[in-house]
Point group: C2
Chain length 312, copies 2
């Protein structure tokens, strides 16, 4: 088998249509598909101020590289980077990201759990018998949204890929929580609440293996290792099941996304008038009377500290 376009050695087989591509053709295909996603779903518009959430992993680094390229070609877009330093010794290192942002003249804002909440994730987990992924997800999502908002961003770009999204769709379905899926999709917008910065996911239609291949071929200085605390067993189960199913029935992951996008507009229509409460402690949006962040911080005996941000 050779590359579909230029008959040289292929580096990847595309799952959804079973064609093979060489390095150069794959890179072109990958970038073109993301550009199409941005265009089709109007992810980026003139004068957007975009906060890009970057952990330095393959997905968000790929996103950073591509959106920076995009922002440089369209001079009317203001792009900056937010990184969350959870405080995971030997894992979360942001030096490479700092260098990259410096070289590319991108503003980088780093927020740490230690500074924001008083303890690093290492410390929180040492002191409390608590599931790492659940607390970390809640705190990170809160920081990303509130800091993006504070910094004046009207969009928050994240590196979620097609695998992440397909897993989330199934997990919500299997938990009987289809309402939660109304906030998924390539661009959010169901919640008419100015406290939520609109999320955009330019890698929405890229399989995880495609993002991995792209990051590898582009020689990005990223780690491919998983977080040492990673223990979201349920997501892991769903991921393994989906990978098995995709191996046996090519195109399943894309089909899940397509099925979902077929119903997303009507799902959003159904939930568009849902009222969003304000947390009685912090006034952040929440579904009950106290938000998950405040509940969790109380559980681990921490409080939010005054916000401090570093601009590098």
């Amino acid at each position: 088998m050779t590359c579909k376009n230029c008959k040289t050695n292929p580096v990847i087989t595309l799952t959804n249509n079973n064609v093979q591509l060489c390095k150069d053709c794959f890179i072109k295909y990958f970038e073109k598909k993301i550009a199409k996603t941005i265009e089709k779903y109007t992810l980026i518009e003139k004068n957007d101020k975009i906060a890009l959430a970057c952990s330095g992993g393959k997905d968000s680094f790929t996103l950073l590289y591509l959106l920076n390229k995009f922002a440089n070609s369209k001079k009317t877009i203001n792009l900056f980077v937010i990184a969350i330093d959870e405080g995971i010794h030997g894992y979360r290192e942001l030096e490479i990201l700092k260098d990259y942002c410096k070289e590319n003249k991108l503003q980088l804002h780093i927020y740490s759990y230690k500074e924001e909440f008083g303890d690093s994730l290492d410390e929180i987990l040492k002191k409390n018998p608590i599931r790492s992924c659940s607390i970390c997800g809640v705190l990170r999502r809160f920081l990303l949204n509130s800091k993006a908002r504070e910094l004046g961003a009207n969009k928050l770009a994240t590196g979620h890929n097609l695998d992440d999204e397909a897993q989330s769709i199934l997990m919500n379905t299997f938990k009987g929580n289809i309402k939660r899926s109304a906030i998924l999709g390539p661009i959010t917008g169901i919640l008419k609440d100015e406290r939520f910065v609109r999320r955009i996911k330019p890698l929405y239609f890229m399989l995880e293996k495609e993002v991995k291949t792209y990051a590898f071929l582009k020689n990005f200085p990223v780690k491919f290792s998983e977080c040492p605390y990673s223990n979201d067993a349920y997501r892991g189960e769903i991921r393994d099941f989906l990978n098995d199913l995709e191996n046996k029935h090519l195109g399943t992951k894309h089909a899940i996304i397509n099925s979902f996008l077929d119903i997303l507009p009507i799902l959003r229509e159904k939930y568009k008038n849902e009222t969003i409460n304000s947390c009685s402690i912090c006034s952040e949006p929440c579904s009950g009377s106290i938000c998950n962040v405040c509940k969790l911080l109380e559980k681990v005996n921490l409080k939010r500290k005054p916000i401090q941000s570093k601009i590098l």
Copy 2:
């Protein structure tokens, strides 16, 4: 552990709320839940003429027993039975069903592939290299609908249980065919086409293991064995995955159904104006220009024979 209600020996643990029930309490629970389904979704109304599709297996026999009881208590309902004799030597035997219907003064209409199409399933599969479940499903569904219609039924009751439905929802999602899910649900009605008899599924909220237990406890004269031609590998994969997931995360199957029922009204709304074509050969409803029945019959060199029905 003892029965939740009467403290005697339990026979089953209910998956969705993890309580145990003894034989008598389980039978009461089972029958009450089905009565509630019938009421909540208005599956049966005064003066309904209901064709009940019965294979003689645990699901449809349970349905037959319960709907007959229901029809006897509400004298305004006309219930009769349709059975399809595919022609599977040593497997499809309808003698017990015939006896049961005779004893209970229920009209039974048997239609065979041999009489309707010219060959039994045994013969079709002997002569053609074709996947048994795909051809059999298409022919059986066609006969059930067209014969129920011909016999003047305004509803067609089938023995689909919660497992069947959860599998179908996932299979449609994984094939990117969410539109097909719009015709699922406890009662159909999306297709405003009088050629389709409305389907009702009174066992909709009962797990397969609950139906099996009920049929066993009631000592129904049914076979629990699978069809010897059964080769729907994809449904088998999804079934195994769902069983695994349910074992690890109790309530997953119910959650899938609840997620689905949350969106079913809006899904039906979305597709309510879809036009249904007529097959250019037989005039039955179809999505393209030739229906699946005509396509399949052509493939196996058969033609529909004049309709013959036996009333026993």
